[in-house]
Amino acid sequence: MNAPLIETHDLTRHYPSGEGVVAALDGVDVTIQPGEFVAAMGPSGSGKSTFLNLIGCLDTPTRGTYRLAGEDVAHLSTEALAALRGERIGFVFQSFHLLPRLDALANVAMPMLYRGVSRAVREARAAEALARVGLAGRMRHRPNQLSGGQQQRVAIARALVNGPELLLADEPTGALDSRTGIEIMALFQALNAAGVAVLCVTHDASVAAYAARTLRFKDGKMVEDRRHTPVDAAALLRELA
């Protein structure tokens, strides 16, 4: 069975606002295959964040259907959605969202707490995930002992640790300088090359350029779905060096 990873039909999200309702997302039909690198672009209020929240099972649509790996998730309970997030999706946020009390290893291991995994397995997998983002030597550092780029790498390791099929990144380079931003995008490209689908939300066309496909949002509607040749972030870094 080769089901698409993401398949939405008429995906719509209304929010009550004063007297009427606001259509934050309005009738989006999109299909994303496993292993794609997709950027969702648009200005603020365009509906791209609402789209990300729905795709990430953090929110449920007002109307329409959403299949994740063939499974209809539009009307699942909050408990079932939480389980689905833990199993299939990894989140990366603009402001990292690391827990300041915990060191890098514990931050990365945290999602596995909710999967009933033994401590030994948790630590081994977290160490492996940190090694894969190039932070093998920083496991016992707390977030405030790490640079912004390193913190975002810890967050990416945390997103990877449950072995998801889909990484959702919300402005992942927004809080970083441009060089570090490119490094992070290179990491996403490398992970994508290893088979993980990436959906990256951004307002920045230069960030969207690292994806192979761009969905452009405006006023809650998807106005463009374009495939293009991605910029190679690793090659760009070598040029800069």
Partner: protein
């Protein structure tokens, strides 16, 4: 801020981790516990101050329960020492030429009245008539003023006396007027010290008596009198040798101790006794009773009830402080949930179920309350003994009360922690992640 120590990320080195098996269970209890401990540890002072509320409540409960239980046990043992199911009949109003002489002024009951009671009233186990007199008891060069009770062997049964040494006297010894006595523990000590008085001789007045037994120790009665300061001898011995009385009252007794069979209605027996004495003393219908009847265990039970009321009152004050402590826990948990909204949003985003979040925060509240409760038990225990030692109160720490105090503090945490925890579990992950 190019970080030169960042390893270059070469594509071959990066690969996704193998997915974890799907459908595994949620947050385990031990993990939730260690997360809760970590959260408390991050705010030690705040946790300690919150636990203090529970601590004070539990310590107060511990002290009041321990002191209250000690006081009650003292009262109960006094009731036991009086003799269970005991009615005491006193000679009552004697009128001489229209002037009432008051209760117990004249011995108007006789030995035969006492003998008649068990025969006439089925519910009565034994009845023993007695007379009392203050006497100087002498042994060698020691002497001691005490109350001599002259009675029937059944008196020992009626008052639940036990023996420390020797034996009681018999019906035959009573009838024959044998010169034998039993000493109360206080008298035995005063006259003989550590020695065993059985077989030794004491003199009361000019008459020598053989000590045949020492009574078991009873301690104070509820009126504060030493029940062991007593000497007991056969009634007829006393009549002939010590308390010789005028011919008119030669068979008189001043009190009759009536022991009622277990389970019988004491009030009913009281009525029957009254009726019996009216009949035996030929009291006219319009005349008052000739005797008075007292139920001693009833007097003591009243004292017990008031002691119980007092300790209930103290316990309810302590319960209020526990309630206040619980509200403190709820307050701090609400603050904690608000502070950690972002963390909760993150945990929800990475796959924590609302039930997992609930478990984590509830456990934190219970842990907080249990820590306060356990410390409160320890402090209450110490304080109860300290107070008991200083004030000379009997203190009784009941382990079921300790278990109850710990359980109640845990339940307080559960009860007052539920609402904040539910609030945390119901947070919208999107809004929670966006909060500052």
């Amino acid at each position: 801020m190019n970080a030169p120590h960042l390893a270059p990320v070469a594509p071959p080195a990066v690969s996704a981790l193998a997915p974890l098996p799907r459908g595994r269970g949620g947050l385990s209890f031990t993990e939730a516990l260690s997360a809760a401990l970590g959260a408390l540890n991050a705010n030690k002072l705040r946790a300690a101050l919150t636990a203090l509320g529970i601590f004070i409540g539990v310590a107060a409960v511990m002290v009041t329960v321990a002191v209250g239980a000690g006081a009650r046990q003292q009262v109960l043992s006094q009731i036991q020492s009086l003799g269970a199911n005991l009615l005491l009949v006193w000679g009552g109003n004697v009128r001489m030429g229209g002037v009432s002489l008051g209760a117990g002024q004249r011995a108007n009951m006789s030995w035969d009245d006492a003998q008649a009671i068990p025969r006439e009233i089925y519910a009565v186990q034994v009845a023993a008539g007695a007379i009392r007199q203050q006497q100087q008891v002498v042994a060698g060069n020691q002497n001691w003023a005490t109350t001599v009770t002259a009675t029937d062997p059944d008196w020992f049964v009626a008052h639940d006396w036990t023996l420390a040494e020797g034996r009681f006297f018999t019906v035959e010894e009573n009838m024959a007027g044998r010169k034998v006595v039993l000493l109360g523990a206080t008298v035995a000590e005063a006259l003989f010290g550590e020695e065993n008085p059985v077989g030794r001789e004491v003199r009361i007045g000019a008459t020598p008596f053989e000590v045949i037994g020492v009574l078991g120790r009873k301690g104070q009665n509820p009126m504060g009198q030493d029940q062991d300061d007593a000497v007991v001898m056969p009634y007829w011995t006393a009549r002939r040798s010590v308390m010789g009385s005028s011919r008119a009252f030669a068979r008189a007794v001043s009190t009759i101790s009536v022991k009622v069979h277990e389970g019988e209605d004491m009030a009913l027996v009281e009525d029957e006794l009254r009726a019996l004495f009216r009949q035996r003393h030929r009291v006219a219908a319009n005349e008052p009773d000739t005797v008075q009847i007292r139920n001693l265990s009833e007097i003591a039970a009243t004292r017990d009830a008031s002691a119980r009321t007092l300790s209930m009152l103290l316990a309810s004050v302590a319960a209020v402080s526990l309630l206040v402590g619980g509200i403190g826990v709820m307050n701090i948990m609400l603050v904690s949930v608000t502070e950690r909204t972002k963390e909760i949003g993150l945990r929800l985003a990475v796959g924590a179920r609302p039930a997992d979040i609930l478990k984590q925060f509830l456990l934190e509240a219970v842990l907080l309350a249990l820590i306060g409760g356990a410390a409160g038990v320890a402090a209450g225990f110490a304080l109860a003994h300290l107070l008991g030692g200083l004030a000379g109160w009997p203190v009784l720490v009941q382990w079921d009360a300790v278990a109850l105090a710990v359980a109640v503090s845990g339940l307080t945490g559960l009860f007052f922690g539920y609402w904040p925890a539910r609030r945390a579990a119901r947070l919208d992950p999107i809004a929670a992640l966006r909060s500052e």
